[in-house]
Symmetry: C2
Subunit: 269 residues, 2 copies
């Protein structure tokens, strides 16, 4: 369900079939939380979006235009999920981008679905993430791996799945970043080959510094997760969520996640 | 430019913005040659499309419906490029596919643009292909790597680019498969980790058998291409095209490519 949608500034639910987002996944997206009538961490979302445009050589939309369209779709709403898609634009056939394309903007507000309560039940996903440093970190539209990952379990059987890359390194959950706590220090995958630099992940890294928690971004392996004292996942919409189990492993420790959520004044969503 | 387009059977140039093809690249496509008023190797294209649906868990469209829509968009046309896109369908937010989705069909006819004459000038692409056996072989819509590859040179500077995977194996050209000829035998990448099982590639493998040429699908490395007696690339629309150069390397040998094209009665496109 969509509460409001603008396509290139016009009220619409349709895009051109020759849009390169549809033809090739040639674009980027952001998903942010609307809470108390304003978009949480909006500047960070826009910064990642513009970084993505730069990395893919997509003409970025005017920031003022985008901000005004976001204000328009969220006007009068208290809570919801803001989704922004920017693609390279429409036209032509063939992979080669034309140099004169103007990007496509889709700005939409969706309802915020209820989240599972309490700590989460995770599982390992079978499908792996392909490595490609050129696409790592940005939130591009090529998301078949995540779609197939979430198809591995039925709704209700688990809350999220952790994903490895093709070499067996831990990368992320299907739609969240992952942190392990070991002896009071935080470790999280460095995302040099795949995964998305999450907005909430960056906030957690910053807050950890203020709380004087040691933090390390490094290659992580399943063993690092499985032997951690505490595990949590982060996502711009859902915030910081403690992990209760990963397949048959269980954790009861949630204190670091709680301290970070308090430091960031995250309301439970 | 599009000569004719049907979206789910209706004349339209628009798709729903919540289509999963647009949101996540969650779909497949085919690009085929219309020549003499009929679609060349249509059965092979449809077979690959249905295989892709099966691999991704997408509800396949009715074959009769699809064939009738293809007949409708190509009616009265002699030459052109047929493009068929099938996505998981539209609706919802989040990677998890709903089980009740009916797939989206886009069937379009485009003009056939003139191809470069004679043997082709190739280059090595910088961007690599990520490995993921789960997505290998099928023609899915996650094509950012190919888009970025074709952005590496200006139109006219080269005709195609050869791509390596992240481990350095040769996979394909940006929109074609690649064959090397060594001592009269054909070798082509086995595509176990990435790349598309091209319709023309399969035709070449079949024709080579009839011509009693030895054929091997195996891991290929740049050295295998660079030391070959003859190199050619294949694509459903462009057929079999000899390679004249790869960066500073040159080839004049085109005899195997010519024999195969004759055996397949390919008209020059």
């Amino acid at each position: 369900m969509t509460l409001a949608m603008l396509v290139n500034g016009e009220t619409s639910q349709l895009i051109a079939a020759d849009d390169r987002g549809f033809q090739y996944g040639d674009g980027l997206f952001e998903t942010a939380l609307l809470v108390g009538g304003s978009v949480r961490f909006l500047d960070d979302h826009l910064e990642r979006l513009f970084t993505g445009c730069d990395r893919l050589g997509i003409t970025p939309p005017e920031e003022q235009t985008l901000r005004s369209e976001i204000a328009q779709v969220t006007a009068g709403a208290e809570r919801g999920v803001l989704k922004v898609i920017v693609t390279r634009g429409s036209g032509g056939r063939g992979y080669r981008p034309s140099h004169v394309m103007s990007s496509t903007r889709v700005v939409a507000l969706h309802p915020l679905n209820p989240a599972p309560k309490g700590s989460l039940r995770l599982r390992w996903c079978d499908i792996r993430l392909g490595r490609n440093a050129r696409l790592a970190g940005i939130k591009h539209l090529n998301r078949l791996e995540q779609v197939l990952a979430q198809s591995e379990w039925r709704e209700g059987e688990a809350d999220e799945g952790l994903m490895l890359d093709t070499e067996g390194e831990v990368v992320c959950a299907t739609s969240a970043n992952v942190f392990a706590v070991r002896d009071g220090a935080l470790i999280t995958p460095d995302l040099r080959f795949c995964g998305v630099h999450g907005v909430m992940r960056a906030q957690v890294l910053k807050a950890a510094g203020k709380l004087r928690l040691a933090v390390s971004e490094e290659p992580l392996w399943p063993h690092d997760i499985e032997t951690a004292n505490e595990v949590f996942i982060t996502n711009a919409v859902r915030g910081i969520r403690s992990v209760a189990s990963l397949d048959s492993l269980q954790w009861s420790e949630t204190s670091v996640a709680t301290r970070l959520a308090n430091a960031l004044s995250l309301s439970d969503t």
